[in-house]
């Protein structure tokens, strides 16, 4: 090791070091801006559980520096540490130096995705997505909730499409969320298109893994254009973010379902039933991609506060500092996801709430499984389900 007064030259960015791996790690200059203060450790859900430096933004950045400077080789365990990040963005929000952590990590993933080091489950994900066009790699039967839609009027062509997202489409555990939202649209006489099997994954899982998603993006754009869609309402926060940041701009306007609902509440299109009995105490879980990454904190809360039968109690980590559900590492480390989700359920429980409301079918399914496993008697709601339950229906309710 090249030392100088006890200071490793790697620490001082000695240019004479081998640079052969610099191209694997873009944003090298940005990495140098990490002062290793360690404040990101406190924010990281993976560190909270694993308590190892490799499970922190600081550690992941230092590993990449080590690769860039030739101090450590590219290995599957480095890659594993890099991809075992929940991509929640809490580290960036806590970084006093404003280091662009997510850009560093994503940039490195894109380069390392071309090497053998990439974890196998992620390579398999790419194959599965190209086969079945959803992240769960199952047949199109996963759209089965659409078979039960006699109470919903759907158009073939309309200016608005409801883009459901993989979790809502494919996991029976949370299919009542899109079903509720479709019913709400219908009862509001809002003409909308449902794409069914023609709705492909937005591409987020690939982009987050550092892989291209051009085919999925191109398909979705083409389908929407063929249906004359000018606006999509989307329930999946990752999808919302991906449409906003990785799709060609100007194709469609993109709205999250919670923003749509908040607007409908504010304008009086949605009214509430008269409250019955004790108010239901709930807490709200901010999905990372809707809250921290897209800045949508208020809409869901405005909705909840407007419902007469609901009392909202915040968790100690909420809004900008909300803790992730851990869903994004499920493919790589199920037990890590379960442990992170359990912490979140514990935090929710501590508020005394009887239910957790969220705006993300993925968070919903992760938290619901954790609560079930923990034996915690809390219902996990998607906000659409709660709105559907509490809203006044002018023409009567189709079915409960």
């Amino acid at each position: 090791m090249n030392r100088l007064n006890g200071v490793d030259s790697r620490m001082v960015g000695d240019n004479s070091q081998s640079t052969e791996n610099r191209d694997l790690v873009p944003y090298y200059e940005e990495m140098l801006r990490c002062t290793r203060c360690g404040y990101c450790l406190a924010a990281c859900p993976t560190y909270e559980i694993l308590r190892q430096e490799a499970a922190t933004a600081r550690g992941r950045i230092q590993l990449l520096r080590g690769i860039a400077e030739g101090s450590i080789p590219v290995s599957s365990s480095v890659a594993y540490a890099l991809w075992r990040c929940v991509d929640c963005g809490a580290c960036s929000a806590h970084c006093p130096g404003g280091v662009r952590i997510e850009e560093i990590l994503t940039g490195a993933k894109q380069r390392l995705a071309t090497t053998q080091a990439m974890p196998a489950p992620l390579r398999e994900l790419a194959v599965g997505l190209n086969n079945h066009h959803n992240v769960f790699d199952v047949e199109e039967r996963c759209h089965s909730w659409l078979e039960n839609m006699e109470d919903v009027s759907v158009s073939d062509h309309a200016p608005t499409a409801y883009f459901v997202g993989c979790a809502g489409n494919c996991d029976p555990m949370v299919q009542s969320a899109p079903h509720s939202f479709a019913r709400i649209l219908s009862i509001l006489d809002e003409p909308f298109v449902l794409l069914g099997g023609e709705e492909w994954c937005c591409g987020y899982p690939l982009l987050a893994a550092g892989l291209p998603a051009d085919d999925l993006i191109e398909h979705n754009v083409t389908v929407l254009e063929s249906r004359d869609v000018r606006r999509i309402i989307i329930s999946c926060p990752q999808g919302y973010y991906t449409w906003k940041t990785s799709y060609p701009s100007g194709v469609v306007d993109v709205l999250h379902s919670s923003d749509f609902l908040a607007e409908a509440v504010a304008s009086g299109r949605i009214r509430w039933q008269d409250p019955v009995g004790q108010p239901l105490v709930v807490t709200y879980h901010d999905p990372c991609y809707l809250g921290r990454k897209s800045g949508v904190f208020d809409s869901p809360r405005e909705i909840l506060r407007s419902i007469p039968g609901i009392e909202l109690r915040e968790m100690s980590n909420n809004s900008e500092s909300a803790m992730c559900c851990g869903g994004n590492v499920m493919l790589l480390d199920k037990s890590l996801t379960a442990a992170i989700a359990s912490r979140r359920v514990d935090e929710a429980k501590a508020t005394g709430a009887k239910g957790i409301v969220t705006s993300c079918p993925q968070c919903q399914r992760i938290l619901a499984r954790a609560a079930e496993y923990m034996g915690v008697d809390m219902r996990i709601w998607d906000i659409s389900e709660l709105v559907w339950k509490e809203m006044k229906c002018p023409h009567g309710r189709y079915n409960e």
């Binding site: 200071v7 001082v12 990490c34 490799a54």
Partner: protein, 462 residues
Amino acid sequence: MRTKQLVEGLSDIVGREYVQTQPEDLFLLEYDASLERGHPCAAVFPGSTEEVSLVMRLTHELGIPVTPRGSGTNLSGGSIPVRGGVVLVTTRLSRILDIDVGNRCALVEPGVFNLALQKALIPLGYYYAPDPASQKVSTMGGNVGENSGGPHCLKYGVTMNHVLGVEVVIPNGEVSWIGGKAPDMPGYDLTGLLVGSEGTLGIVTKILVRIMAKPEAVRTLLVVFGNLGDAGRAVSAIIAAGIIPATLEMMDRTVIQAVERATHAGLPQDVAALLIVEVDGLEDDLDRQVEDIVSICRREGANEVKAAKNQTERDRLWASRRGAFGALGQLMPSYLVLDGTVPRTALPMALEQVAEIGRLYGLQVGNVAHAGDGNLHPLFLFDPQELGIIERVRAAGLDILKACAQLGGTITGEHGIGTEKIRAMPLIFSQADLNAMRAVKHAFDSLNLLNPGKILPPVLGK
């Protein structure tokens, strides 16, 4: 061979999954928040006092150095394995074992984050006074090792004023309890000796700390100065008037700009310095204290005094102060933070000398200070890619410590000596002083295996 024996032995004690030997894992234990670096041959994550004890007995038998580490936020190289050997990571020992309101104390394991303890105490109406800026992530074990301070230590004292007792594993593996809930322990004050010993005498595995009831009321003021010296003079004027605020923090222009870019806290720009003054106590007392502070500050040249209107404004202000070091990354890729203390009245002169040393070495310098304690944190900002810059920054740092010593102060307030400031030890200690300390070290650790290469300069001629 010895390494193989070590790894097998460690694995027998804690289980293979809690022993790290892979190069990429060890690479991540080479650094902390300082500029120092050192390479371990293994890392171990014990889960109990017994495991710590067995690890220490094993390494003692094998003659292998051990360096304790919590979150690795140390600012003087204290958690760096400069002699190699084993890094003993305390992060699995992270339980709050007991909160005893009747005896006003709490028992915690060393891997508990300072803030985690604070959060556990809030619902009870209590708090733990030492609040280092890194409290979100720095561990209680590290706080004990470094005798950490923080903004609120002006009125309430530093870590050593709040540790009532510790369970400690000494280098040969023996476990002892020192101190306890009963006040006035007879015999030598070994608790006092261990607090601030930077993990060189023993590894604390349980810590009994004093907790305090939250004050009834708090007022937080932001005082703006057009001149750094005026801000320094206002600090001693406030104390001289008989007021002891809970905090008296200072930031200079460079730091204010960096912090504002990072946190958007709404700090005033284009000012020379600002003080964050917080008073706490009984509601009825505070208005008069605030009036006195405002009039003293105005007399010393303050341009503006703003009071935080509510908890949100107060939190925002403190977030800006706590993020100050890291925020300097907004201005330059790297920095060296210094930690010197002078008698409070010498603060204006010390700040002048810091500026002068910065000019002399051609370095951009920012200042954060626990001004009420006369504890300065000058920060040299630099680009690590510049050739020879590290030597220049270090030389400038040593000059600042010299200046502090000459002003009747000392070379650290709270960040410790570590490896970074060993060369500065003779500035404040004679050979006889240092020999006395070496004798203490020898009494605990005759083989010099626990966190070697820290605090004490090597004996001349060796």
